[in-house]
Symmetry: C2
Subunit: 414 residues, 2 copies
């Protein structure tokens, strides 16, 4: 595995990709979609090798399921590429334009990032998805997938490169690191000379490792300890339905609600009603003293509970005496992902929107809407919990940078 050669190939590719027309890029994506379907048999054979290895290694059934390809799943993956074709091409867009007193005319123009590195876990669909989003935005991509998915990824990338080649575009637009040695991954994270940004996609452990070891700029997609605060002035029926949705509609996702903050003035009216609704899904409640007085059968919440992303049918509950106390509690324990207030008071809502530190802050809606598709971006690379470059759902635009183009008539600086 020659990482440096891969880096040089990617840099050469990026200069070619930044020149491609929208039509050419879309044509490549359509050809790739077609080839993936046509090569289903080949992909399934490669995937079966990974599945056999997974079964032999006693892989968890849930992980095995995420790893598995089927004819239907391959068709869905191909369909994902066709959806990317439908999205507008933002490359070349002039986002600002201004003239200076000396006559210089300055445009701020959207350009590709260049070379993007993606490190992810064992999901073969990510391989295609990441290629599609990076390619549509004119970026070369170097992929490092999980070793459990290696044979599937090798086969998928082979098909993607064949599609590129058939359309007369450099195959180096997508490269896969096939060496599973940890030292290689470590070296990959320090390829600053070739890679412009590194995006980890996966669990908290993977992300933490990339943040700690990469010298390349990273976009961190993080965990979500999301809160819902029910204000003293709130439609409590609405509150119950939003909590039920945010907690139970899908428990394993980063925008699920993990913690409820409730104003003491409405705790007695809200909690029994909410408990009844959440019992439909056997949600365990863990509360402070104020909660236990109303729901004596709830578990006592520990300090640790308030900091946890359960990803399970568990909800922590904290009672407060004011919106300020709610905001302080949320800012202390949240992961800066998604937070909601249920209130009928517009001033309180405005205060919450301003003072809560999170990528997405909601009034009277479920935190589950933090999602590139729900936001109308048509795609999603992940949800950023950092403040640099991109925050919240990341779509195609978040895979771009900009340059300034300046046109003069001989101006020199005095």
């Amino acid at each position: 595995m020659n990482l440096e050669l891969m880096g040089r190939n990617a840099v050469a590719a990026k200069y070619e990709l930044q020149k491609l027309t929208t039509e050419k890029k879309n044509q490549v994506l359509l050809t790739a979609a077609k080839l993936l379907t046509e090569e289903s048999e080949y992909l399934l054979q490669a995937n079966e090798q990974d599945m056999q290895m997974g079964r032999a290694n006693g892989m968890h059934p849930g992980i095995l399921d995420r790893l598995q390809l089927t004819y239907e799943r391959i068709e869905a993956i191909a369909e994902g590429l066709r959806q990317i074709v439908e999205l507008p091409d933002c490359i070349g867009e002039v986002t600002e334009s201004f003239a200076r007193p000396n006559g210089l005319h300055i445009n701020k123009v959207r350009v590709p990032m260049g070379v993007i590195g993606i490190i992810y876990e064992s999901r073969p669909n990510v391989t295609v998805d990441a290629f599609g989003l990076c390619f549509k935005t004119g970026n070369a991509v170097i992929l490092k997938g999980g070793s459990d998915c290696l044979q599937s990824n090798i086969a998928i990338v082979k098909v993607l490169r064949k599609a590129l080649s058939m359309e007369g575009v450099t195959e180096e637009a997508v490269q896969l690191i096939t060496d599973t040695d940890r030292a290689v991954t470590s070296a990959f994270m320090k390829m600053n000379d070739y890679i412009d940004v590194l995006i980890p996609r996966g669990g908290a452990g993977l992300i933490q490792s990339v943040v700690n070891n990469s010298t390349i700029p990273v976009i961190e997609t993080g965990t979500g300890n999301c809160h819902i605060y029910v204000d003293k002035e709130a439609d409590l029926d609405m509150a119950v339905e939003i909590i039920f949705n945010a907690k139970t509609q899908r428990i394993g996702v980063c925008n699920a609600c993990e913690s409820l903050v409730v104003h003491k003035a409405v705790a007695e009216a809200l909690l029994p009603k909410m408990k009844a609704r959440l019992q439909e899904k056997q949600v365990e409640l863990r509360g402070d003293e104020g909660v236990l007085q109303i729901l004596p059968e709830a578990t006592k919440a520990t300090e640790e509970d308030y900091g946890r992303e359960y990803l399970d049918y568990i909800l922590s509950i904290k009672t407060v005496s004011s919106v300020e106390e709610a905001i302080e509690h949320i800012n202390r324990y949240n992961t800066k992902h998604s937070e909601a207030i249920i209130t009928t008071n517009e001033d309180t809502a405005a205060q919450f929107l301003r003072d809560v530190d999170a990528a997405c802050v909601y009034v009277n809606a479920s935190t589950r809407f933090t999602d590139g598709f729900e936001f109308g971006f048509g795609a999603e690379i992940g949800i950023s919990t950092q403040k640099l470059h991109a925050r919240g759902p990341m779509g195609l635009k978040e895979l771009t940078s900009y340059k300034y183009t300046i046109v003069g008539q001989g101006q020199v600086r005095g």
Copy 2:
């Protein structure tokens, strides 16, 4: 030195600062400007300690000069704060606003970064400047200045904190790391729990060290190996004046021209004329074979020459046979900072603007305009050569992030 305490103080401060009105922020900056002038005597005494230490250590006269404060320089520093007062406050600005089919209304709102860390070398003016820009954008800042400037920085930060206190704002809006131990600097670069972004300001060594060691997201302000390409269709008199300006107007800056690329068709007409003009400043020329044929007295350029940021009265020169070859040469050797083409052909200009990979690409103008003030930003933190978050001159907006605020009427996800 308790870094963790400083981190906690900064986080507490950021929640206070994000709520401040524009009026209050401006009032603090004006009071700080006034106090700096009033306390000139105190600042000069502290600065004299640094100067004595510098002289005793045989510090280079140029560095000593940068370190020195005078009444005039303090007044200029205070004036810098007053200029920041005049700039618009971009915090709270709604940069995008859209509704979803389900009735959710989404705003993208500009917010402070939170806590900014700045590591810089021995210039006391940076201490005030960095505070002013961070404070105006509602950010708390932790400063780590050069040890050569420690007494000056302690005195300056004391005055700034007094101004904050007089205006009833938390003093922890600005904190200074006074421990000069390298281990402390190293620990500072890993304070991910408290600091949102780290900005190094200084020479290439400092920046490289921060990029390699920080686990906090970094905005890299880099070196500039800037080129001017003179096309076969060019106004050669204009070319000579732009080259003269970009090379000699100020040699020690990152947007100075370090290398000339010239089309063979105009080399004979251009080079002698250009040489005559550059001789006014005794600029040494280092060229390839094509150059030596026309200017036999020039030095032969080595491969290394083309990659160097001289910051001196030296210019490397490369002859090419096409704009494509010029672009390829530039993309290979440049530092992605500022590049210019001199041409009368609009198609060639468009090709150069699209295909050259740099923060700022010019047509018929000097590279020296890459500057926050020249761009009309009214301020400058530095010039970014990375592609993540900010590229090119960084003003106040580049010290901000955004959040999404989403207002609903009880929406849940289906």
